[in-house]
């Protein structure tokens, strides 16, 4: 029956399926036209095979960042004093380090949460621009936490309030971005922009009427800071981070199918709506928890997955854990720099990540244009 196919004279007809269904555009729309992730052949070979060196590298970076984070700051410690120091100098060094430790570990957890949320959202939405900060999730979480604080609720409620704010913001942004039953990329980014503007306005309004300690707390949520770290806060954040990580790892293989397209995942047997909801909730939980304890810290969720992907490839089973560890390392390092350069004064770490994140992001855009 196919013997005569070779004689067919019909030219190929590239065709758009136009009027009416509009569905053909749906998933393609989620693909960002300007920001295509580079995929040169050499990098394409980096699949699971490169996961182990990538993981080792990330762990090494994190160990370095933690070590530096304990030593550097307003008071510089020497590694000798800290590890083998005897007498007053050794004791003093260990005391300072033990005061710094909660801050370093809080930075690690917050960085890991944000990077995980960004990685999962990017795969889910098939969009390398997805990030809890740019999509307005962080802003919603900050408003939730700030309102709870202004209402005088206990600090232990703030993760729940931030989570509620993050989920509410995600739902609103998704509703704004929906067109013809599908999430549209341009609309998604615009909706994130609108949400961020709105949340900034709310935070500023509350800030302007707040007084004393409340105003300071508001500032903390707006700028992002790890200065209020305590061992209790580290312990309170850890279960959220662990829960988010476990849920996302459970969905990692499904996220691989989403990264090729939502329709792709559906056609291969994934219950798309349920998976989407769970991954969205897990990302919101991670974002909410991070914001509740550290305020709005941008660009970690955008840059870390990108960097990790260039090392281990896009297999989410490897990318999620490597991103988590690399995100932890990045935020520990960023916080160390932001409290060391102008010591005893401090830069808000959110301002610092934005200061390095924005140019890197711009460079990525230009390189991919």
């Amino acid at each position: 029956m196919f013997l005569s196919v070779g004689d067919l004279a019909v030219p190929p007809t590239p065709e758009d399926e136009g009027r009416g269904t509009g569905n053909e555009r749906g998933v393609a729309d989620l693909a960002c036209p300007v920001f295509r992730v580079p995929g040169p052949d050499d990098m394409s070979a980096r699949g699971v095979a490169r996961a182990t060196p990538g993981m080792l590298g990330a762990v090494l970076l994190l160990a370095l960042a933690v070590g530096l984070g304990l030593l550097a700051g307003g008071v510089r410690l020497s590694i000798n004093d800290l590890v083998a120091g005897e007498g007053p100098s050794g004791e003093a060094a260990r005391l300072v380090a033990s005061l710094r430790a909660p801050r370093v570990f809080l930075a690690a957890l917050v960085g890991g949460c944000l990077a995980l949320a960004g990685t999962a959202l990017q795969a889910l939405l098939k969009n390398p621009l997805a990030d809890p900060f740019l999509l307005g999730t962080s802003g919603g979480a900050a408003v939730g936490a700030a309102l709870a604080a202004v209402a005088g609720l206990s600090p232990f409620v703030s993760p729940a309030a931030a989570f509620a704010g993050a989920v509410g913001s995600s739902l609103a942004v998704a509703a704004l971005a929906r067109r013809g039953g599908r999430l549209d990329l341009q609309r998604l980014l615009l909706a994130g922009l609108i949400a961020n503007a709105f949340f900034s306005a709310v935070l500023l309004a509350v800030f302007s009427v707040a007084s004393g300690q409340t105003a300071r707390t508001m500032l903390f949520w707006m700028m992002g800071s790890l200065a209020d770290a305590t061992p209790g806060r580290v312990l309170a954040l850890a279960p959220y981070a662990a829960a988010g990580l476990l849920v996302l790892l459970f969905f990692a293989a499904r996220l691989n199918l989403f990264a090729v397209g939502e329709e792709n995942a559906a056609a291969l047997g994934v219950d798309v709506e349920t998976s989407k909801r769970i991954v969205f909730l897990a990302s919101s939980l991670l974002t909410g928890a991070a914001v509740a304890f550290a305020g709005i810290i941008g660009f970690v969720g955008l840059l870390v997955p990108h960097a990790a992907r260039s090392v281990v490839g896009n297999d989410q089973r490897a990318l999620l854990p490597v991103s988590a560890i690399a995100g932890a390392a990045l935020l520990v390092a960023a916080d160390t720099v932001s409290r060391s350069v102008f010591a005893p004064a401090e830069l808000p770490v959110g301002a610092f990540t934005a200061a390095i994140g924005a140019p890197v992001f711009a460079w990525l855009l230009l390189r991919n244009a």
Partner: protein
């Protein structure tokens, strides 16, 4: 449209199928069936519901009325994973944003067979490599699929459908955008899979001559309904084409005695 006896033999069957996107109706009570081992071409103008029909069978689009049957049982009674093991879908747009090795893309075809969708056991890899050899893309295994040409990419996706071991293939305009050589290579592969494995194929195309050449049967769609179905020679008449596509066409016989359909003007 079809006699009840034929309906029972239908491997995939739609009865009164309705589907929409938001407020746009795409299928308005479609009745159609595809028999075991058939190669059926789905023809119709843009927006007539061809792609939506494929997506409904692939469970990408949820129908909002009517019913789909797989081997006589309602498709909704199969788990998504069960039906994904039996039905492979090749989308029209193969737009990849993230880098992915071709072998990993082909391995995704094994996902419905694997626990937790994590398919990379050595048996899965053997399946994937065998499928890639069959589609002559094994040399591309380590390459980034996002960087391939359109023809290569389609063959990789076809290899994935092979690796999926599905008995039914849904192909959405599989030859669109291919140059003549890649188009012919693709059709050769498709022919081998169809003839060699007895795969049931439902393909959407705008190439009337292609449908006439390779299909056992064609189904014509208009405004979300099937308006005709039958062997190409009997079904693709100038009157039907005017009704379906709004074009005037004539049938010519080429030098080798084959019947060709030449649309030459839009109907007034």
């Amino acid at each position: 449209m079809a006699a009840p006896a034929e309906r029972v033999s239908g491997r995939v069957e739609a009865r009164g199928l309705r589907a929409s996107y938001g407020t746009t109706r795409a299928l308005e009570g479609l009745d159609a069936w595809i028999g075991r081992g058939e190669l059926v071409a789905l023809l119709g103008e843009n927006g007539s519901g061809k792609s939506t029909f494929l997506k409904a069978i692939a469970r990408i689009v949820l129908p909002d009325g009517g019913e789909l049957f797989l081997d006589g049982k309602p498709l909704s009674t199969f788990t998504r994973r069960e039906s994904a093991r039996r039905i492979a879908y090749l989308p029209q747009s193969l737009d990849l944003v993230f880098p992915i090795r071709c072998i990993d893309l082909v391995l995704q075809g094994r996902a419905p067979h694997a626990r937790g969708f994590s398919a990379d056991s050595s048996a899965d890899r053997d399946h994937a490599f065998e499928a890639m050899r069959a589609c002559d893309v094994d040399a591309l295994a380590e390459r980034d699929a996002a960087a391939l040409s359109g023809g290569e990419k389609r063959r990789v996706f076809l290899a994935r459908a092979l690796a999926q071991e599905a008995e039914i293939w849904l192909l959405d305009e599989p030859t669109s955008g291919l140059d003549p050589r890649h188009r012919l290579e693709f059709l050769e592969l498709l022919g081998r899979a169809h003839a060699g494995r007895g795969t049931t194929v439902l393909l959407v195309t705008h190439e009337i001559d292609l449908a006439a050449e390779i299909a056992n049967r064609v189904i014509l769609l208009r405004a979300g309904r099937a308006v005709a179905s039958g062997p190409p020679a009997e079904t693709l008449t100038p009157d039907r084409l005017r009704e379906t596509f709004g074009v005037e066409s004539r049938i010519v016989t080429d030098l080798e005695g084959r019947r060709r359909i030449v649309p030459y003007a839009p109907s007034r």
